[in-house]
């Protein structure tokens, strides 16, 4: 007997993780935008121009998977996070539009650059707020179905929003180290180093606040198999430290993959803390779609995902390498 619901849950997780990494560095590049001169901004845009459409598609995939595999969860979560969700979507529209127009504008370059930065920042912050709201609601067993349209404002939610801004900026700077060279690369590396430090501070803060605030999570974290957990945490942080050290030593790929590792750890931590609940006090099984839908979801994903991953990878491979002023994609 195959547990279709569990596979579907993993697929949703995978799609969201891919979105966070891929569009995350795109949004991060947007957040770093005001720190760059106008000629540097052009290079920044060139590094993400051929791939940002594809990256955003992962958000649609995450949504579609959630609709198809967990329609009940969807119908509760989405109205509950209505305002931050709509704001995020508006910001994503603004960002896409600003991106296209910034590349083609002449007189209004500065305006579209500001628009690109602001919309990237708002979209990221809203994503953090959504995450924070869901974690907060799950931890406090708030019934989301009755809290439709209510934005739970708390310091924790705010920290999540802020944390994600730093986190995406870290991903963005890691990406830019891979894609740029010369003075710009040195500059981005300096940002990357300080971002590593801020992200680690925020991470430690969240890991201290969460168990203090949420007894259920504290119980889960500190009750049994303490040594196994402790060694995993040590492994996790030493991974980040190695990436940080390699960043100082001018490594090309470690900064980016260190950031990916950081996200991967956070993902597992959230998953571990709340599994098998998808919503407050509602397990993923109780929210899963009927088998007629789940089988389509699972088999379609398992056959099509390798295919679409391969041509996404092909698109990245085609545009592999450093980008500079001479690299012209047009004509």
């Amino acid at each position: 007997m195959i547990d279709y619901a569990f596979i579907a849950l993993c697929l949703v997780g995978f799609a969201i993780f891919m979105y966070v990494i891929l569009d995350g560095f795109g949004l991060g590049v947007g957040i770093l935008f005001p720190l760059m001169s106008e000629s540097e901004q052009v290079i920044l845009l060139k590094t993400i121009a051929p791939i940002w459409d594809g990256n955003e598609t992962w958000l649609v995939l995450g949504g579609a998977l959630l609709y198809a595999a967990f329609p009940q969860a969807c119908s509760i979560i989405l109205p509950a996070i209505y305002m931050p969700l709509m704001l995020m979507l508006c910001a994503l529209v603004g960002r896409g539009v600003a991106f296209e127009f910034r590349a083609k504008a002449e007189r209004t370059k500065a305006r579209w650059a500001r628009c690109f930065f602001l919309s990237s920042l708002v979209a990221t912050f809203c994503q953090g707020v959504i995450l924070g709201t869901l974690v907060e609601a799950s931890a406090n067993s708030i019934d989301l179905a009755k809290h439709t349209g209510l934005l739970i404002l708390s310091p924790f939610v705010f920290i999540c929003g802020l944390g994600l801004c730093f986190g995406y900026a870290l991903l963005g700077s890691g990406w830019l180290i891979i894609k740029t060279e010369g003075e710009l690369e040195k500059k981005v590396r300096r940002f990357c180093i300080s971002l590593y430090m801020s992200v680690m501070i925020i991470l430690v803060a969240i890991m201290i606040i969460t168990p203090l605030k949420l007894p259920a999570v504290a119980k889960l974290w500190f009750e049994y198999e303490l040594w196994t957990k402790f060694s995993i945490i040590i492994l996790y942080f030493s991974g980040i430290f190695v990436a940080f050290w390699k960043t100082l030593k001018n490594s090309q790929f470690w900064p980016f993959f260190g950031a990916v590792w950081t996200y991967f750890g956070c993902f597992l931590m959230i998953g571990y803390s709340f599994f098998p609940n998808l919503l407050p006090n509602r397990s993923y099984q109780s929210l899963a779609a009927h088998e007629t839908a789940l089988t389509v979801v699972v088999w379609a994903s398992l056959t099509l995902l390798p295919l679409l991953l391969s041509y996404c990878a092909y698109a990245y491979w085609v545009f592999w390498g450093k980008v500079d002023h001479e690299t012209s994609f047009y004509e």
Binding site: A49, P50, I51, D53, G54, E56, T57, L59, V60, L61, G63, A64, L66, Y67, A68, A69, P71, Q72, C74, S75, I76, L78, P79, I81, Y82, M83, L85, M86, L87, L89, C90, L92, V93, G94, R95, G96, V97, E100, F101, K104, T148, G149, A289, H290, T292, A293, V296, V297, A300, L304, L308, Y311, Y314, A315, V318, F319, S328, F329, Y330, E331
Partner: protein
Amino acid sequence: MLVLSTEILSRLQFAFTISFHAIFPTLNIGLAVFLVYWEYQYLKTDSKFYLKLCQFWMKIFALSFGMGVVSGVVLAYELGANFSGLIAYAGNILGPLMLLETMTAFFLEAGFLGIMLFGWNRVGKRAHFLSTCMVSMGTVISLLWIMSANSFMQTPVGYKVFNNTLIIADSWIPVIFNPSFILRALHMLIATLLTTSFFVMGVSGYFFFKNKDVLFAKASFTPALYVALLLSILQVFSGDRVGLMVYKYQPIKTAAIEANWQTKNSAPLILFAIPDIKNRVNHFEISIPKLGSWINTRDLNGVLPGLESVKQEDLPPVAAVFYSFRVMVGIGLWFIFLASWGMYCKRRHQLVRQKLFLYAIMLSTPLGFVATIAGWMTSEMGRQPWVIYKIMRTKDSISNLPAEQVLTSLTIIFILYLFFFYSYLRFVRKVICEGFDKKSKVLLSSIGDSDD
């Protein structure tokens, strides 16, 4: 008196965002097909001329595609956020259809779009052509899935009710290939190609008018003209089949389209009227006897269903359905005339000199979009008050949100979208003003149509 309830606001927001979104895929699906043709010419002739032609249209394609992607993401999430009842009730069927669309179409488009737009120097000509084909294929596949999902909501079959709380697929093949899917998908595909060909002709007409880049404009105009003439005629037949299908499966929609209040034999075709929904009559009616029955039943004495059996609160917005249908058909007929006129001018080698025709073709550039959206309005408002025909009422699909929140999001979206659309038009104008060939403008601009 219009009360700004959550239902009204949610529907208004969805109608606005989807109409805005619809513009871009309509243009892109057609434009992608034309791009495949032009790039094939480039591959065959290996001439810089076709390369520049492709690159010009790709600039417009790129602008529109970006707009399409981001406005589409909004729709996907709006569906769950504002219409959570629909997802809870029919998510088991609509969800997998949307998932399949994402996996088979969106990734194909988005993955190869980068190579198509920016990869000219990075991949070989054949690989580039293949990428363009993939993008084009992706747009068409996307159209097929979304038409399937929407057609299921119009003519649902192959489902069964589970636990009295939701519907699940009994068998996927009838769900996907539901009775209205193929006809409506075909109708929409022709509509996108038709809209794009008039868009291409309108833009090319501007170059003829300005006597600038005339050779490029001609190479764009000619295939668009052939497509327009062929498809504008074909669309009459496809629309007719859709009409017969609607008569069979959604007779109330037919009655609303014809503004027919009483069921009757030998019903006239009403050309113009002001439907009065309160008193259930038409004012100022102009009609052709018996034609309404013939169009819908192929029999001059056939029975045309009326709205009499429908309770007042269950009536679709008759006037809106009636008018939007006539806007669509009117534009369709105008397109046949315009395409024939264009062909006549072309045969007599007078394209560049026929100022009146050039004016007409330029002014008709946006009409295809108007017709497409009007057609969608007919189709979507005609099935009200149902969101899934005869299964789920629209009012039951609405999320339990405070009206202020929806009003806030609607206001933000409305202002942002208008601003972005204005900017979009300005940038499209800029691309058009720069022309096909920035560098050797002098060389080509002075050539008239003497070689035609």
